[in-house]
Symmetry: C2
Subunit: 328 residues, 2 copies
């Protein structure tokens, strides 16, 4: 008899199956939520596993500490957190780990907390065969709830920043042969490594959203982050909100030195770990926000229809045949 | 040059070193704390690592799920949690893990939550080389704060339940030769396996404490749980509270079939994973509580002096020379 293993199931289907054990389907959104009388608390846990998400060759411990915090705060922001309270840090480390590695990791953790707010609330450390940094971050829900399921047909799809850079940074750090006869511009190389090792987030995103809101009655908008790639983010929004995403390839913001070609499109749409916010807004609000924040671009719109992604530019639809980003 | 690795440092010293990275020294108590206007939130994270805390031979996935929840709620209770809100579950699993294993794990998790309260608030799953179950549990701080640092000279030291059983259960499940010419009673074997695989906790502990309190002005008492062994628990209290523990060997509650001998004393005091509560109370309160709850025993008292443990019975002090319970 064939025994069904996780590799057969895949990451996304696993998440769907785990959801049935939970009274609230919060595993499908970016954060869990605890309701209290005054504030709702947003909670997010992300684990970084050695040889899955990192190794000592591609990222130094200080950058890893920074990135572990940022990946968690990014999820809080993508749910509409107005303030990061703090984090707990759970480490699994092999007994032969050098103390200096731990010290550097914590320096990176505290550097990110100093930059984006929050303190270390507690933690523990166990022994194991591979390094694992598991961080739980706590934030306070702000005035607008950002949820995957809140996109609506007719709304503009937007994204912060530029995608694909983190993937390119990973490939460069990993000394993967890019197998091309092109030489990458130095500033693209530098920017990509920076995106992979020291990703940044948008702490003013919620404030700018509130500032540009055209209709104060809107308390909830559709949003997620692109930690698993831009396509996955748009697809997650489409599925959770039950509508169709129409993307406009010509409007996708790229780094000015980003090469052309199918492989580069694949890195762009499926790369992952960019920690950009992907969201949708009513047209007027979208226009106002793009005017205020030059880091934000319109990349398409939602329409009525079965949850799916389509390109406005027909010849780009072949891109959708690529497999989504997955760790297993 | 010799590079300092974690094995040289040891678990306890590592915790001390990590504490310096944290603005609040909460790593030294059982839980982290988030203060909100109405309620204070207690947070605890515990990770179970394959081949450190468990393997598939000594515990089945359903029991492992139960135990992972219980070990977390035990820490909440030992800080004075009056209600478990819920947990987040972060899994690291090898790609070849069978789905049925995951399903059974979640059944055990939900069984424990049904028994002791709380829901699954969220979670995630990543791929890794060994199984890791990392649970973060959230509770509401009750009327009495239980803290490691709050023991006072003159107070009686008490414990719930019986120690050593979980260690014996582990040895039996692991088929470790006990190297003795004695045969263990069947009911001791059964009870020990139960303690190791399906440990219980004391959800009414805080209520009983409040019910028997002789002086309503006392809002804080010294407490921890014995997840790292009874000696470690008493030592943690003595160090955090800066007083000396005098233990009364004759009063230590043992299972009636527990064999005599130095090795059995070692299992008893250093075994770990018993999840009993170890705490101190003013004499009168201690008497009242023992009368109300027959699971609770007086085992000594705190005195002024350097943080240390001593036995009232002089010939038992040799026990203290044993190394404390540690995973590395």
């Amino acid at each position: 008899m064939h025994k069904e293993i996780l590799e057969d199931i895949g990451e996304r289907e696993l998440i769907n199956r785990l959801a049935k054990f939970m009274p609230k389907n919060q595993i499908k959104d970016d954060c869990a939520l605890i309701q209290t009388k005054n504030n709702n608390l947003l909670i997010n846990n992300d684990s970084m596993v050695e040889n899955v998400h990192f190794n000592d060759i591609i990222i130094c411990p200080k950058d890893l500490g920074w990135k572990s915090v940022v990946s968690n705060i990014s999820d809080l922001l993508s749910s509409g957190s107005k303030k990061t309270i703090g984090i707990t840090v759970s480490l699994i480390l092999p007994a032969e780990t050098e103390w200096i590695w731990v010290e550097e990791l914590y320096k990176g953790i505290n550097k990110a907390l100093k930059e984006y707010g929050g303190i270390i609330l507690g933690g523990d450390c166990s022994i194991g065969n591979e390094k694992i940094i598991s961080i739980t971050a706590f934030g306070i829900q702000g005035e607008i709830e950002l949820r995957r399921y809140a996109c609506k047909p007719g709304e503009t799809i937007l994204t912060t920043g530029i995608h694909g850079l983190s993937k390119l940074g990973f490939l460069i750090q990993n000394k993967t042969s890019l197998n091309e006869n092109i030489s990458l511009k130095k500033r693209l190389v530098r920017k990509s490594i920076e995106h992979f090792c020291r990703p940044k987030i948008y702490p003013y995103f919620l404030k700018n959203l509130i500032k540009t809101r055209s209709n104060k009655k809107i308390k909830r908008i559709g949003c997620t982050d692109s930690s698993d790639g831009l396509f996955q983010a748009v697809q997650d929004l489409a599925i959770a909100s039950e509508c169709k995403a129409i993307m406009n390839y010509a409007k996708i913001p790229k780094h000015k030195d980003w090469p052309k070609g199918d492989k580069w499109d694949e890195y762009y749409f499926f790369g992952g770990e960019d920690y950009e916010l992907v969201f949708s807004l009513p047209k007027k609000w979208a226009k106002n926000l793009c005017k205020l924040d030059k880091n934000i671009s319109e990349i398409g719109y939602f329409a009525k229809g079965e949850p799916a992604i389509e390109f406005k530019d027909n010849d780009k639809n072949k891109l959708l045949k690529n497999k989504p980003f997955r760790h297993f």
